[in-house]
């Protein structure tokens, strides 16, 4: 019972007592009213009405005073209590707005000062943290852009860190690669498990293992035709079940197939050439040794030699072609973006020669041994400056027929082939490594020459290099806006599923989701049009781990629903059906707690599809609407917008009523609600679900009463 009800209760009791007293007097009077002077009785008779009126007036005034006090003291008091809750839990900068004539004196101002102090303290803590985090972020950046796929897992193979390269390796399995997900969903279990065991054993044995604690192995990526070259090392903790493991991945498929092909090429070349050469040699020697054979016989031998040589030429051509493509795929060559190469070149040029080259054209992906190619380019630039003087040199990457041309362009005349050829044998030195230009060019299957540039008065030096297949691939690096790649607080592993009810709300992983539908009645044929979900792990919204799909509802979309979410028939006609999407969503959700605003609505849609989609959503469910009702019973508006506004969550209006936009807002709201729940002592999943359940009961009773 809150203070307001008590306050009104007191008045009620007083009025009841007063009425009771009056009633008692009246009753007593009716039974044995003492003899009264006639004058007094007459006076009473004439004034009885006025007495009654005065009594009611007193009551009326009393109630008025009570109501006024309620308005200026108790209502503001409740409001302040709620606002202080929000200030403490969610939004310290919140302004408390009360009616101006309240009688709380300095209380709101004091609360505001506490809020300001809190804000200040938080900011200080934040700044202190930020300093620490800065270093961490730098490290994060390094890991993120590391060329090698990197994943760190805990003892249960739960992913606690991954980087862009790993994301790229598993690009077709985006839904399964995420923090807290099991690596077993991505990679064959057996090699991983045995290697982890092996490393644990090594670590436990007193003499350790021969290698430095890392184990290399091959491993197949699940559902993909890819072999991975993995290395695993152990980060030991106090207990073996708290260990974590660092894995690096490289795609072995290309390399292995390249090696296999060159092996086969050599074998085939030998087999293919041996035969014709044997025939040729036999024929030639016979002709030499038997010059006396007649013309007819000699003709036959000559014919044999001709045929065999023709055959040899054909085979040689085939081998040469194959060797050419193999050389271009040589494993020392990596995918490099020309803009990166040029940037690196410029850094070197500035350091060594105090000049820069000016890049032209667009960035293209090439296959290169970048350090060696840089060395070659640097030396060529020096040669050009020697030839043409201190001119401005431009560099352009051009898409040629089968190659990408790196053109070094300068105003002046081409360099003679004689000069260019003379560079080939030159030794280039870099940090102790010595390479000849020839070698570097050979490694890239490349020739260089100088010719006039299409711009009059300009010449160029052209290096044709092999393009990388990445040119035509999906630009993976750009799809994630800022994925959260790691979360070391998950290092300690996960509790068993059964004990999740007792787990602190803050430690659970959630998928906050929303659906847009053709209407409000799934049982009458309304269908899901789009689904979006975003993951929350350890109190952070992982903006990079999102699920967003349009669904073909196999029915026309009513105009009035299009007005809400903007999705038209045309948007979804070529999209997959719910039977395809829902299992994907289930895979994305895993065993996380599902969160939605008015979850009952969305869950009904999901549950009606469970059978046809062959999935089951038996995950725990939390509802932001119910939690908000539980926390702020005194307000009536629990729409998503209203809650967001109350809790100080930014809403991007243009994204509202898109599944992703709503899921995002819901996620932010949910995080604020979690804080408030914690302040109210609702700290575990079990308690939160209880709280929602009690709200469901109350709401049901209310609606029945209203009915």
């Amino acid at each position: 019972m809150n203070v307001r009800s008590r306050y009104w209760g007191i008045l009620g009791v007083f009025l009841l007592l007063a009425l009771g007293g009056l009633g008692g007097i009246a009753w007593e009077a009716s039974r044995n009213l003492p003899e009264m002077d006639g004058a007094i009785f007459a006076w009473l008779q004439t004034h009885f009405v006025y007495l009654l009126l005065a009594l009611f007036l007193i009551f009326g005034v009393l109630i008025q005073i009570w109501a006024w006090l309620d308005g200026v003291v108790f209502k503001p008091l409740i409001q302040v209590t709620r606002e202080v809750g929000i200030i403490a839990g969610a939004d310290p900068s919140r302004e408390i707005q009360l009616r101006p004539d309240h009688l709380l004196g300095e209380l709101p101002e004091a609360a505001r000062r506490v809020g300001t102090a809190l804000l200040f303290a938080r900011r200080q803590v934040g700044e202190a943290l930020a300093n620490q985090v800065e270093g961490l972020e730098r490290l994060e950046k390094v890991i993120k852009h590391l060329n090698v796929g990197l994943i760190v897992i805990n003892a249960e193979a739960g992913i606690v860190l991954y980087n862009l390269a790993a994301q790229n390796l598993f690009r077709n399995r985006q839904d399964a690669l995420g923090l807290g997900r099991s690596l077993y969903e991505l990679c064959a279990r057996m090699p991983l498990e045995t290697t982890m065991e092996f490393l644990n054993r090594c670590h436990a044995s007193p003499e350790g293992c021969a290698d430095k604690g890392d184990a290399r192995f091959f491993c197949a990526a699940l559902h993909e035709d890819v072999m991975l070259d993995c290395a695993m090392s152990l980060f030991p903790c106090q207990r073996a079940d708290q260990n974590y493991y660092l894995l690096t991945f490289e795609e072995a498929t290309r390399r292995v197939s390249g090696l296999r092909r060159s092996d086969r090429l050599i074998r085939h070349a030998l087999e293919n050439i041996r035969g014709p050469v044997a025939n040729l040699r036999a024929a030639a020697e016979t002709l030499m040794d038997h010059g006396d054979m007649d013309h007819h016989e000699r003709e036959k031998f000559v014919q044999v030699m001709h045929d065999e040589v023709a055959e040899l030429s054909v085979r040689l051509d085939a081998i040469a072609t194959e060797a050419d493509t193999l050389a271009a795929e040589h494993w020392v060559l990596n995918d490099v973006l020309t803009s990166d190469l040029i940037e690196a070149l410029n850094r070197r040029m500035e350091r060594h020669h105090g000049m820069r080259v000016h890049p032209l054209g667009e960035a293209l992906w090439i296959q290169a041994d970048a350090p060696a190619l840089l060395l070659a380019l640097e030396s060529m630039l020096a040669k050009i400056r020697y030839h043409a003087g201190p001119v401005a040199i431009e560099i352009e990457a051009l898409m040629g027929n089968h190659r990408i041309y790196l053109d070094l362009i300068w105003p002046g005349t081409p360099i003679s082939a004689r000069a260019v050829e003379s560079w080939h044998g030159e030794k280039l030195e870099d940090g102790g490594a010595v390479m000849r230009l020839e070698e570097i060019l050979e490694r890239h299957g490349c020739e260089i020459w100088s010719q006039a540039h299409r711009r009059p008065g300009h010449a160029m030096l052209r290096l044709p290099v092999a393009p990388s297949a990445r040119q035509w691939q999906f630009p993976v690096a750009e799809i994630s806006e800022r994925p959260e790649f790691y979360d070391f607080s998950m290092m300690n592993g996960f509790n068993a599923l059964g004990s999740r009810l007792a787990m602190p709300l803050a430690n659970l992983s959630y998928v906050v989701f929303d659906t847009e539908t053709t209407g409000l009645q799934p049982s009458k044929g309304d269908e899901i049009l789009s689904m979006a979900g975003v993951r929350i792990v350890n109190g952070r919204v992982l903006y990079g781990e999102r699920f967003e799909r349009l669904v073909n509802p196999r029915r026309p979309i009513p105009v009035e629903s299009t007005r809400v979410h903007g999705i038209t028939d045309g948007d979804v006609q070529d999209k997959p059906t719910i039977e395809e999407i829902l299992p994907q969503f289930k895979a994305f959700v895993g065993d996380a707690v599902l969160v939605a605003h008015n979850a009952a609505f969305d869950m009904r849609f999901l549950q009606l599809k469970e059978e046809s989609c062959k999935v089951r959503f038996d995950n725990p469910v939390l509802d932001t609407l119910l939690l908000s009702v539980y926390l702020h019973d005194e307000v009536t508006d629990h729409t998503l917008d209203a809650i967001a506004d109350r809790l100080g969550v930014d809403v991007q209006a243009h994204l509202r009523h898109t599944a992703m936009g709503d899921a995002m807002v819901t996620a932010d709201v949910f995080l604020k609600l979690l804080e408030l729940l914690k302040a109210r002592g609702v700290s575990s999943l079990g308690l939160a679900m209880q709280a929602s359940d009690s709200m469901v009961r109350i709401r049901r009773q209310q609606s029945e009463a209203n009915y």
């Binding site: 040899l312 030429s313 072609t321 190659r403 020739e447 044709p464």
Partner: protein, 125 residues
């Protein structure tokens, strides 16, 4: 006047065949084994067509090709480059430096003869 052919190659075994084939066509043939002698031979008497191997001593085929193209008197000289390296880049480099055509070793002698005749505008009778 007989058509003048200059063969530049340092492998006598191929020169033997090339000389024989070209003479058979009724051309006047000279052959040299390195880049410097090639330029000298051109200076002595301007050929109509040069069969130019890439990998030759002193000056390589690309350099000879470039030197010929740099000489205004030699603009009309046809150049067919011969090479044992069969990569597309080399072909491109040869053509960029002024060769008219490019033949990879080993080649069919009949096709080479045909190519020479076509280039000289002699038809294929």
């Amino acid at each position: 006047m007989a058509v003048e052919i200059l063969i530049v190659d340092d492998a006598p075994n191929i020169v033997l065949s090339l000389e024989f084939l070209m003479k058979k066509e009724g051309f006047s043939v000279r052959s040299v084994g390195d880049g410097d002698s090639a330029l000298q031979a051109v200076e002595e008497k301007r050929p109509d067509l040069v069969l130019l191997d890439v990998m030759i001593p002193k000056k390589n085929g690309y350099e000879v090709c470039e030197a010929l193209r740099a000489d205004p008197l030699c603009q009309g000289v046809k150049i067919i480059m011969l090479t044992a390296k069969g990569r597309e880049v080399e072909q491109e480099k040869g053509l960029a430096l002024g060769a008219d055509d490019y033949v990879t070793k080993p080649f069919a002698t009949r096709e080479l003869v045909l190519k020479v005749r076509t280039m000289l505008g002699l038809g294929n009778d």
